[in-house]
Amino acid sequence: MSDATADEMMTVAASRALRPDDVCFVGIGAPSAACNLARLTHAPDITLIYESGTIGTAPNVLPLSIGDGELCDTAVTTVSVPEMFRYWLQGGRVSVGFLAAAQLDRFGNINTTVIGDYHNPKVRLPGGGGAPEIASSCGEIFITMKQNPRGMVNKIEFYTSFGHGDGGDAREKLGIATKGPTLLVTDLATWKPDAVTKEFTVTSLHPGVAREQVQDTCGWPVAFAEDANETPAPTALELNTLRDLKARTKAAHSGTAG
């Protein structure tokens, strides 16, 4: 299936990282597509949790927000928001937190709060929502975003959620016992943190992508793993499932039913 778009490749590559028995806290947007693609392909029993309180949800179409009715209708159970954050997230029951990033650095720290000074911002972004504690309470964190040099920056302007800080054992120093970011999937490549420095390192390039493209769209000097290879192209099943999901989603959301 060589006709996959970069966006589709990103979603497919991200979906593959999810294991069938994962309990996944799903961020909206690209993470949601990847998580549901995993559920509809190799991980039918994966548990998807949205911060609105829906546990074990299996939406037929992608939700537009973290609280769409579809999420509740198809969930194993829907709990209150305090219970969600206390028993399920803080309780340590979530194996993977899947986040999108507006601004990201090489250590997986994310900024979705402000551009410029916090108290006198150039651009006021929406803020962290669940991300600060998703980043520290989930077993590990997957991140997905489209590459662009203003998004992937040398130094983020605000630590909305903590990744590996300035690298190394920064998490342990803060008393955070979870793994933090273990995977970054962009539209061009798959990245994993270096075992020691924790700097994101390209481990595979998506089909047809050159190293220069990755570097040109990234604000820091990109490290490539010695054994970096090519991401397997989407299979027919993956691509068809994703396209069907997107088509169903578009049809549902352009209609008037909610």
């Binding site: 609105s52 509740c72 305090p82 803080q90 972004l125 929406p126 929502g129 669940g130 920064a170 008037t256």
Partner: protein, 285 residues
């Protein structure tokens, strides 16, 4: 059901200038009609609390009603940024806006603590997060058993909370179903609570024993406002009007267009307009 009053009367009696107020709803059941009534009544100097301030707080802020907003995620759900809130924070238009920003976990715990009558919430949070450096209301407490340092935030105790719910029964008890969000806590944490509902039914005999029901004595006033959550949705009644959320992104991008829209759709409108607004999103059943 002595507590059933018109929305106008309920807002007039329960919301005053300078109040700390929460209009809560978590994507689902957002109390749009109540917020619009508050806008029509022109309240000023409000401290607006909400985990997910969205269109209604964008509108109130744009109308200059807020002096402060306490929140954890300020976005137009599924669409993008809140342009009136941005304009207030970045450009002080139409007035400066103080912000107190938390994470969802902190706000959820703070509402929970408010409902529980506690002065603070204690949780494991904010580790490595920048908010802890810029928000003086984020402190710590040490566990006397393990020594672990935990985060602490003040509990949320609004003067008044407004929510929208599916239904009341004739005794005035209120049922919330589906994505119940933080609404029960927001009501129990508040000094006063006003609930708009889709309808009043005879009784809740067919309701699950463990459903989220607020007894009548926990609420100050109940207002029957069918469609009162539009363009948000009411599980079992009508779906989300996604086009309106997209439209808001355009309306709110421009100050004049915003002002004109508010005049037509809020200032010159009334609570009874919500029936029609929601009607085309009602499911066939």
């Amino acid at each position: 059901m002595g507590k059933v009053v018109s929305l106008r009367d309920a807002v007039e009696a329960n919301l005053s200038d300078g109040d700390v107020v929460a209009f809560e709803g978590f994507t689902h059941l957002i109390p749009h009609a109540a917020a619009h009534e508050a806008i029509r009544q022109g309240r000023r100097g409000l401290t607006l609390i909400r985990m997910t301030p969205d269109i209604i707080y964008d509108q109130m802020i744009g109308m200059g009603m807020a002096k402060k907003v306490v929140f954890s995620y300020a976005g137009n759900p599924g669409v993008g940024l809140l342009r009136r809130l941005r304009d207030a924070v970045e450009n002080a238009w139409p007035a400066p806006l103080e912000i107190e920003e938390h994470s969802h976990a902190a706000m959820a715990n703070a509402y929970e603590a408010g409902a529980a009558g506690l002065p603070m919430a204690v949780f494991r949070g904010y580790r490595g997060a920048g908010l802890a450096d810029v928000n003086p209301n984020i402190k710590t407490v040490d566990c006397p058993f393990t020594g672990e340092r935990l985060a602490a935030v003040p509990s949320v105790r609004p003067d008044v909370t407004f929510i929208h719910a599916q239904k009341a029964n004739k005794k005035g008890d209120v049922l919330i179903e589906g994505i119940v969000g933080i609404q029960k806590e927001a009501v129990l944490a508040a000094g006063r609570a006003v609930v708009t509902v889709e309808e009043v039914v005879d009784n809740f005999d067919d309701v699950h024993p463990n459903a989220c029901v607020l007894p009548n004595w926990t609420m100050t006033a109940i207002c029957v406002v069918p469609g009162g959550a539009h363009p948000s949705y009411a599980h079992g009644y009508y779906g989300r009007d996604n086009a309106s959320y997209l439209e808001w992104d355009e309306v709110s991008a421009d100050r004049d267009r915003f002002s004109a829209w508010m005049k037509t759709n809020v200032l010159a409108a009334s609570a009874s307009d919500f029936v029609d607004r929601a009607s085309s999103f009602r499911s066939a059943s």
